[in-house]
Symmetry: C3
């Protein structure tokens, strides 16, 4: 097979792309979908029904549940928590699964918590330890408990500086445009 499995990892899915690596004490269930060139750290769990795109990084001690979709190139920090039940109780047969979507290239910081039913925009940056309870816009920087908007970041994760509607990254000089609704786009 063209993916790498540490001898101490359990990988039961066949739907896993070339170049992906799964490290020690992690478990990927049958029915999980994982793209190419992903890196799944140690002590992770990927449940049946979870979907990861290509080039996703998942650091250690993260569980990715059914109903979570992580797009290409996203980064999930260590000990980050995802969920799929807004009002969990033990042994409820008829609970409602709520989906969570992590957009392309987004970052979920270490130990952050993502309440289910929301969408994290592409290239957004959720700070370490944040508790996210609502949708996050593309390129937004959010942190705190509850997480609040504190600015916008570049694809490279450095802060953007705006002059009117025009934003630029001081690090890589990529340019952006902020529309009248406050959403940030490539210029």
């Amino acid at each position: 097979m063209a993916f790498f499995r540490h001898p101490q990892a359990l990988v039961e899915t066949d739907d896993i792309g070339e170049g992906t690596r799964v490290w020690a004490f992690s478990h990927v269930m049958n029915g999980a979908t994982i793209g190419r060139d992903c890196n799944i750290g140690e002590h992770c769990f990927v449940e049946k029904g979870a979907v990861l795109g290509n080039n996703v990084t998942v650091k250690n001690q993260v569980s990715i549940w059914a109903g979570v979709r992580i797009d290409e190139g996203a980064f999930i920090g260590p000990n980050a928590s995802l969920t799929n039940d807004l009002r969990p109780r033990s042994r409820q047969a008829n609970w409602t699964l709520r989906e969570t979507h992590i957009g392309q290239g987004a970052t979920i910081g270490a130990n952050a918590t993502i309440v289910c039913g929301i969408s994290i925009g592409s290239f957004a940056f959720v700070g370490a330890g944040a508790v996210v309870t609502g949708n996050v816009r593309a390129h937004a920087l959010v942190y705190g408990n509850p997480a609040r908007l504190h600015g916008f970041v570049c694809r490279c994760a450095e802060p953007l500086t705006f002059t009117g509607a025009r934003g630029v990254c001081a690090a890589c000089h990529r340019q952006y445009h902020k529309d009248p609704q406050g959403y940030v786009h490539d210029a």
Copy 2:
């Protein structure tokens, strides 16, 4: 034996009830007490001296220490942290164990932190990412860092609406009574 142990789990206690399941890479020590029909997720640890009632759900990456008692039907979310030493230092021989009690049917949200020495009331709901530093009343909804009271929830976890002392659940229509001290009881 009448409980299920994943081949990659370590279960050393004999005090574990029928129908309980322990999943991969989890470790239940000798001297732990676990009831019937519990579900212990992956990468969990249950220490000697921890006590779980029947029908308890523990999601992934949770450690349950000596001095923690979890009553029937409680739910512990992924990456939630429990503790048993209020002022830990490394290699202190004579530290003081402080007990924590999680009441019947309570929910501890994903990545929440429960400081030791407190009691979480029955059917209380600790939101995801909360840091709980004091007792939580039965049916209370708490969240934030530090966790504050934000209302009350039904056994089914949906919010309760009060008219004077009388509360009702919009979802399941169960009725409750709030006493003059602000505690919520079955009507």
Copy 3:
């Protein structure tokens, strides 16, 4: 060998001191440095380039990355998160490692998050669930998200009471001195 390795632990380094114990489902990489009489809990990960002094305690589900240095006698609580990249994105070849230093005898509480590039002073106490985003002084007590200074603690972790520049621990009677810049020292 003079250290203890649980049969389900992976220990690849030779640079590990006498009396140190590594528990189930933990993984210490080749290139990690670990002192004497440490206790590494379950589901931990110690990366190549991480350095732990003597008598360090690491509770369960903690990852210690390259660039993290933990001095003698520090305590890292369960599910605590350390980091080494301030602006992580997936699959960035040229990211910048930022170091983190945990001082002698310090405590990092359960589920706390330590953003990289900072120093935690000796005998400091980071409360459970705190999100630390800046340097912490010796003997400081910090908690919250973001973590703020809320007082000072003794080597024994009990609070210090100051009368002018002179501090004393009510529990063990050890004495301290606060200098004009607000730093606390042994008296």
